[in-house]
């Protein structure tokens, strides 16, 4: 499973990176979202998969999965949400003001 997940994460990173390297702002944001999934799954994978029950003591499992990565991912998810929201708004504000969502037209060299 860890191997499969590692590959999946790699695929997410590859696709996300490719999207980020395109010109369209929206595709860039999509790329970051895909990478963020990759990141979260990677943290989980790196914590070790499937070794015990859910980290709920009420359920009387004998062993529990590592709860720490889960807590970390939870924090990361929320922070990523905050960032994405801001980035989205920033993008559309830029689009409205600059009249383009093409990053190749957002170089802003010299004359202005």
């Amino acid at each position: 499973m860890e191997t499969l997940m590692s590959i999946l994460v790699g695929v997410f990173f590859a696709i996300g990176t490719y999207l980020i390297l395109t010109k369209s702002l929206l595709r860039i944001i999509l790329g970051t979202s895909i990478i963020s999934h990759g990141v979260h799954l990677l943290i989980l994978t790196m914590g070790g998969l499937k070794t015990g029950g859910p980290p709920l003591l009420g359920l009387d499992s004998l062993s529990f999965t590592d709860a720490l990565p889960q807590a970390l991912i939870l924090t990361a998810i929320v922070i990523n949400f905050a960032t994405t929201a801001l980035f989205l708004v920033l993008s559309y504000r830029s689009y409205k003001l600059l009249g383009t969502d093409d990053t190749s037209q957002m170089r802003g060299n010299e004359d202005e």
Binding site: T45, L72, R93
Partner: protein, 495 residues
Amino acid sequence: MNNLIILPIIIPLIFGMFMVIFRRRIILHRALSILGLAGTISVAAMLITQIQSKGIQSLNIGGWAAPYGVTMVADMLAALLLITTSVVALFVLIYAFKSIGRDKEEHYFYPLFLFLISGVNGSFLTGDVFNLFVCFEVMLISSYALISLGGEKGQLRESIKYVLVNIIASFLFLIAIAYLYAVTGTLNMAHLSVRVAEVGQDGLMTAVAILFLLVFSLKAGLFLFFWLPGSYGSPPTAVAAIFAALLTKVGIYAIYRFFTLVFYHEPQVTHLIIGIMSAVTMVLGAIGAIAYMDIKKILTYNVVVGVGFILAGLASFTAEGMTGSIYYLIHDMVIKALIFLIGGVIIAIAGTSKLKDMSGLIQTHPYLGWMYFIAALSIAGIPPLSGFIGKVYITQGTFASEYYWLGAIGLFTSLMVLFSVMKIFMNSFWGETILSEEMEKGTTKGVMLPIVALVMLTIALGLGAEGLHDYVQIAVEGLMNPSLYIEAVLGGNGQ
């Protein structure tokens, strides 16, 4: 346990939150922000005396013993950065009073400013890798809001780049944490240090180290600085100044923390890489600084050079180098804020940042001109201003570790820096006066106080470098001797 450590994080936080609640009371905002920074300054001062007398201070948040909870650690380096941060921020804030504009004030400029400081302070104080990530995010998200504050075209355009690069950096930070956790099973920096030391820094660990270096380099603008000139050139002056002064420093601090506490076992690999990166940074930064006839660009590339120079001290991995770096770090925070503030005033007065469109300002603004002159000398490390002692010791450090090329590059780029900042002086202040006072687009009214204060500070830090010596020495001792940090966090049972 020392609850003081948390205050630099939560004082700005609480004060800022109250401002959000009482949104329209701008006077209250100003008062609270001054009060808040004054508070962090005093806390930092208290921490410094405590560290001096009792050693590194730590706080297990929630009472959970390290490495299980999150431990906040105040060593001398952190405390020194803390106090510098707050002092510089205070002056920039005062500058903002007169320059930022009512609409930005009403749109949470002051709270966001304080939140930024809170994040910066948190990054300095935390002893936990993941918490460092979170503190970075606090800082970053505030910076995202601040950098786009005002929503001008160029600003938004550069903000996009800034935000995107930092988002990716954050992802890389997270995967670095993931790999680190897989290999070491812990997040507490002191504990990491112990564990890494226990098994030695093998290849994989070095790869993890390089990944962290990559992440922090992005924040610090070490080698990966391409995002920096654009984004630091676009926001309002006060914001640009605080960015230039603080944000890269957090990355630098993190590199220091990691590569003296955790990944210090293979300096011939890691620290050499840092050295090469810092050399390239200095060279490219200096080249950028001399390339343009635009105040913003010149100043932002100077930020890049500073980063490279500070890290040259770490690359040397000698006590001298570290001493120099810490001095230079403090100097750089002060001077970058100062020169950005003055640059902002010049741009405001001339209504342009293009040097060829301005001339002879010294006729109408002699004080501003001389302040700039001193700042320009200081930024190049000309004695006896604040950059000097740092420059000498970083150079000495690089020589001592036989990285002569690094020291030489450092010194030579400081000449290029001088050339670049003097270019501004000669082109904007000297020459025929073409702008009468009535034609000026901006004014120096009300903004001279922080500028003068920072100039005084750079002079005082230069002439009074001795005053910091003991503190810097304690900081260096902490950096060169990880066991002090480990002892303070994990106590005797470090294993």
